[in-house]
C-alpha cells in the first residue's frame, strides 16, 4: 500500500513538473517576462522535488514515513499558495486576465494534481498510523 501511495505521488509529481511548460503551458513570454512564467518554474521545481521524494519512498522504507508525506503535501500546497500570492515569493504570480492560458488551463490542471497529492498524503498518514508507523518515532 505504501508503495502504491509512493507510485501515485511519483506520477503526480512528474505531471506537476511537466504541467507549466509541456502539458498545460503558461502564457508565452514576450519582451516582458510575466509572473506566471516564474510560477511555472516554481511549480516545475516543486514537482521534481515531489517526484524525487516519492521515488525514494519506493526503494527506501524510511521515506514512506509521515515526515516525507508532510513534506510532499507542503510542497504540493505551495504550488497553489505561491502563484496565488498567498505566500509571496519574488516575482511569482498569475496573469489577472482569467482567459489567459496560465489561469484558464495551467492552474486548473495544477489544482487537480495538488488535490490528488494532498489526498494521497492524508490517506498515507492515516495508513501509517493504523499500520503502526507512529511518525514521532520515525
Amino acid at each position: 500500500m505504501k508503495k502504491l501511495f509512493g507510485a501515485v505521488n511519483f506520477l503526480s509529481g512528474l505531471f506537476l513538473s511537466l504541467a507549466p511548460f509541456v502539458l498545460f503551458p503558461v502564457c508565452d513570454t514576450t519582451e516582458k517576462i510575466m509572473g506566471c512564467y516564474y510560477s511555472g518554474i516554481f511549480i516545475t521545481c516543486a514537482g521534481i522535488f515531489i517526484a524525487l521524494i516519492s521515488l525514494l519512498s519506493l526503494f527506501f522504507s524510511v521515506w514512506t514515513k509521515n515526515f516525507s508525506l508532510v513534506i510532499i503535501s507542503a510542497a504540493a500546497l505551495s504550488c497553489w499558495l505561491v502563484p496565488n500570492k498567498i505566500i509571496e515569493l519574488g516575482p511569482c504570480g498569475l496573469c489577472a486576465n482569467p482567459a489567459h492560458p496560465c489561469q484558464a488551463s495551467t492552474m486548473p490542471a495544477v489544482e487537480i494534481i495538488i488535490a490528488l497529492i494532498f489526498t494521497v498524503c492524508i490517506a498515507g498518514i492515516i495508513f501509517n498510523f493504523v499500520k503502526g508507523d507512529f511518525s514521532s518515532r520515525a
Partner: protein, 402 residues
C-alpha cells in the same frame, strides 16, 4: 509493568490489527472535526464581515445616481471597480432640502475604475475622499496613516499590492503609497484611497486616454454620504429625498438596507450551516458507534479470554475507550489540520465566491476554535464507543469459552 502490556500499548495493537476498520473510523472523525472547524470558522468569518460592514458604513444615507444602487452594493462588498457620476447639480439640490430631511453633514466621494492595461494589471477602484467634510472613511484611514493624505499620496487596501514607500502608476501618474489598511473583509480591501485633488488629476488623464469625458456635465462626484441629525429616521429621510428629488437622476439609498440584506443572508447561511453540522455530528456518532459495535461483536472471544485472564469489566471498558480515544484524537488532529489548509487556500477568494463580507477571526480565536473542534470530535468518538464498550464488557465468560 512493561510497556508492551500497558493499556495504551494493547489499544495501539488493536488499532493496527484491523487497519481497515481503524482507517474508516479515523476518516469519519477526521471529516467530523474538519467540517466542525471549517463550518464554525465560516460562520464566525461571515458574522465578523457583517459587523465590519456595519461599523464602517457610518453614513445614514448614500446618494447615488439613479439606477446605480446595485453598483454601490458590489463596490462596498467586493470592491468591483465601477465608474459613475451624479449630476453636477446633486449637491445644490440636497442643500435646498437639507433642513426638511434633517441632513447634518454631507461628504462627496469620487469613484474611478482603473484600466486593464496589460495582462498583469487589473482594474482597481480608486476612491477620492473629501478630507474637509468626510466623517466616514477619514477616522479609520487616519488610524493607519496618522495624518491626512497629501496630494499624490495613496493608501492601499489589504489585497492591493504595494507597500509604504512604493510608487504605483495609474493613468500615467506616479502615486506614492503612504500606508496599507488592515483587513476589513469587504470591498475596501481592494480599493485605493486618495484625496479628491489627486483623483481629479487622474480623472483628467483618464479622459485624455479614453478620448471622451467621464461625464458630460463635468461632475466628479460619484456618491454623497449623508449624516442625519439626531431623531431623524434614515428610512423616512431616504424616502422623502427620493420623493422630493424624483426624476432628477438621484437616488437615496439608506445604508441599513444594505447591512440588513447582508444580515438576512447571513442568518440563512448560518442556519443551513448549523443544521448541516448537527446532522453531520449525529451521523458521526451513529457511524462510530456502529463500527465499534460491529468490531466488538467480532471480538467477543478476545474479550472472554481477557476476562478469563482476570481483566475486570472496568479494564475492558477502559481498553476499548483508550482505543476509541487514539483513533478519535488522530482523526480530529488530522481534520483540523486539513481544515486549516482549506481555510488558508480558499479564504482569500471567499468574498467573491460567497458575495458576502468575509473577515477571518483573529489568530487566537482560530487556535481556540481548532482546540474546541478537536475536543468536540474526540469526545464524540469516545462517547459513541462507550455504549459498545459497556455492552462488550458484559460478555459471559463461560458462554464464550465453551
Amino acid at each position: 509493568m512493561p510497556d508492551s502490556i500497558s493499556l495504551s500499548a494493547v489499544a495501539k495493537k488493536n488499532i493496527q490489527r484491523n487497519p481497515g476498520r481503524s482507517f474508516c473510523l479515523i476518516v469519519v472523525v477526521m471529516l467530523l472535526s474538519l467540517f466542525l472547524f471549517v463550518g464554525t470558522v465560516l460562520i464566525s468569518s461571515l458574522s465578523g464581515g457583517a459587523a465590519s460592514v456595519a461599523n464602517r458604513l457610518g453614513a445614514d444615507i448614500m446618494i447615488v445616481p439613479e439606477g446605480f444602487d446595485p453598483h454601490v452594493d458590489s463596490i462596498l462588498l467586493s470592491g468591483k471597480p465601477s465608474t459613475f457620476y451624479l449630476p453636477s447639480y446633486a449637491f445644490e439640490e440636497l442643500e435646498k432640502i437639507k433642513n426638511d430631511v434633517g441632513i447634518e453633514a454631507m461628504s462627496a466621494q469620487t469613484f474611478l475604475a482603473t484600466l486593464n492595461a496589460s495582462c498583469c494589471s487589473y482594474p482597481v477602484q480608486l476612491v477620492g475622499i473629501d478630507f474637509d467634510s468626510d466623517f466616514i472613511v477619514k477616522p479609520w484611514l487616519e488610524i493607519s496613516l496618522g495624518h491626512e493624505l497629501h496630494d499624490g499620496e495613496i493608501i492601499v487596501g489589504y489585497h492591493v499590492a504595494g507597500y509604504p514607500g512604493d510608487t504605483l502608476q495609474f493613468f500615467s501618474k506616479n502615486l506614492n503609497v503612504a500606508g496599507r489598511l488592515e483587513q476589513t473583509g469587504m470591498g475596501f480591501d481592494s480599493m485605493i484611497f486618495m484625496n479628491r485633488a489627486t483623483i481629479a488629476v487622474l480623472a483628467k488623464e483618464a479622459e485624455r486616454i479614453r478620448e471622451r469625458p467621464l461625464k458630460n456635465d463635468g461632475s466628479l462626484t460619484s456618491v454623497i454620504m449623508l449624516k442625519l441629525k439626531p431623531g431623524f429616521s434614515s428610512t423616512a429621510s431616504a424616502i422623502e429625498i427620493n420623493r422630493l428629488l424624483n426624476n432628477k437622476g438621484i437616488y437615496a439609498l439608506f445604508s441599513k438596507k444594505f447591512v440588513n440584506s447582508i444580515s438576512a443572508s447571513l442568518i440563512t447561511i448560518s442556519k443551513i450551516l448549523s443544521f448541516s453540522l448537527i446532522a453531520l455530528w449525529l451521523l458521526a456518532i451513529v457511524i462510530v458507534a456502529l463500527i465499534f459495535s460491529l468490531s466488538l461483536s467480532e471480538r467477543k472471544k478476545e474479550m472472554g479470554v481477557l476476562r478469563a485472564l482476570g481483566a475486570s469489566r472496568g479494564i475492558l471498558i477502559k481498553l476499548n475507550l483508550t482505543e476509541a480515544f487514539f483513533v478519535s484524537f488522530y482523526g480530529a488532529v488530522l481534520g483540523v489540520t486539513v481544515g486549516s489548509v482549506l481555510i488558508t487556500v480558499f479564504s482569500p477568494g471567499a468574498v467573491e465566491a460567497l458575495n458576502m463580507p468575509f473577515l477571518l477571526p483573529s489568530k487566537t480565536k482560530l487556535i481556540l476554535l481548532a482546540v474546541i473542534s478537536d475536543f468536540a470530535a474526540v469526545v464524540t468518538g469516545v462517547i459513541a464507543a462507550l455504549w459498545a464498550s459497556v455492552k462488550a464488557s458484559r460478555v459471559d465468560v463461560h458462554e464464550i469459552m465453551r
